[in-house]
Amino acid sequence: MTTSKLMDMTDAISRWVVDGCSVAIGANLETAIPFAAGHEIMRQEKRRLTLIGPISDILFDQIIGAGCVQRVQAAWVGNVITGVGYNFRRAVEQGQINVEDHSNLTISMALQAGAMGVSFLPSRTALGSDLFATNPGLKFVTCPFTSQKHAAIAAIVPDVAIVHVQRSDLFGNAHAWGNMGITREACLSSRNVILTAEEIVSTEMITRDPNRILTPGFKVSAVVHAPWGAHPSPMPGYYNRDHAVFLDYQTQSRTPELFASWMNQWVRSISSIHQYAETLGDAYLSRLSITHHDYSEPVDYGY
């Protein structure tokens, strides 16, 4: 009998995100970004992390601003609807972090190589770009069959992937839907997976629709119940994007002092996602909740 992997966020981050480890997070690019987990990393003052992701909206900027990061392997770091990530910019310009520049395709393929258990994968992207100059995980390779030039993308195997899903059972069998970004390969390649979930449900509910399962439960190390855990990013099936938070963050992160003040209010003064949701309040959150529901038909998995 499998034992429950359910634990609270503090325990999950404390146990599976250790100083100096590599963390794939924000793999859906704009949706379902695990902000609650990211904020717990900041609260626990993790150090020397490597962050791995595609775009991840403002979460990378926040974790970098909290001083947790030594290295970034990503395609893009900033604020999707306003542009600049000020903490990221400052940290790079002051030499505090190293960046390995990927594109969305190369970061996906680096994780896919890890997922497949091979040391690299070839691609036709990035040729002629300077990504090769700022990413030691990109090299040129000649196809042994066609003699054509390709980019060789080195595998990335993160210590832990942190993913926010709609619903999970106690054992890490979880349903995820919406656009998937690079989440599947991030889960498959990582040594450990932390799932944070809007809802904890029965195993029966999950296994009745196995095509919707994100990754095999045996890959998952921890399951955390975190309703609103992706706020302010949108969560398909639950809530819309909270644009105001992203717009305000542009100002709130402009200087180190402003960012420290933002972090005191929204990270340090908050102990859990539950307190975070209480602080925002039901009236505020209900305005973000999905009102235009659109359910799909059940499908028959019988025999």
């Binding site: 690019l29 310009e93 691609s123 002629g128 919406g178 690079i182």
Partner: protein
Amino acid sequence: MDTDSVYTRSELMVAAASRQIADGEVVFVGMRLPLLGFLVAKSLRAPNAVGVYELGIIRDTVASEPILTMGDLPNLYRSQWLADTRDTMSLLQQGLVDVSFIGGAQVDRFGNLNTTLTGSSVNITTRLPGSGGACDLACLAHRHIIIMAHERRRFMPRVDYITSPGYGDGKGWRESVGLIRGGPSAVITTMGIFAFDHETCEMVLTSLHPGVTVEMVQEQTDWPVRISTELSQTPLPTHQELSTLRRFDPNGYWTGK
């Protein structure tokens, strides 16, 4: 022509971008203004265009409500396909994407684009967000269109870093580095529109936005601008284009100024 005399520069650029999309084309839709350009094209003159979004979204209909970004849930609602980023990039790498749109911080006369850093990689002056999907779109689409603000510090003889390859240092460069297709076909700026010379692969000014002169363009471009012999004026956005655009950007977040 049915035009509206009151419009913003961004609205003119979105209307111009939308006209670059032909009916039936597969469009890899980038962030910001291209989001709107696709919606306008799809609504008015390219009803059979298909939109591919790097988040893992494919749409053959417009979003059900206004969106600020491609991850807004109305852009997922009743999609043609919700999938992985790698799936959308695979379509692109196979050669199934006709056109893509990207923006940048610096561009040079061969259409090389920089969104990564200024200065040099060992002595960074300003760190920018990075490629996202832009490098992939510039490498692998059949053609790509660049949309950006026209300022002298951005239009420079040689970009500090090539995030998204254009034509490198001229004709034959893309083939020589191993790129199998593509290249920029147009640059839509805040001042005018450029195409690329088939022989030299250099940017050529083909149209000026209303109120802009060649001298003004030259002043904001840090290389001797080549002018097309058929230089024209950028058509004004039509009333229909503006009303469609304002339906998708009702508060003018992207196109209010």
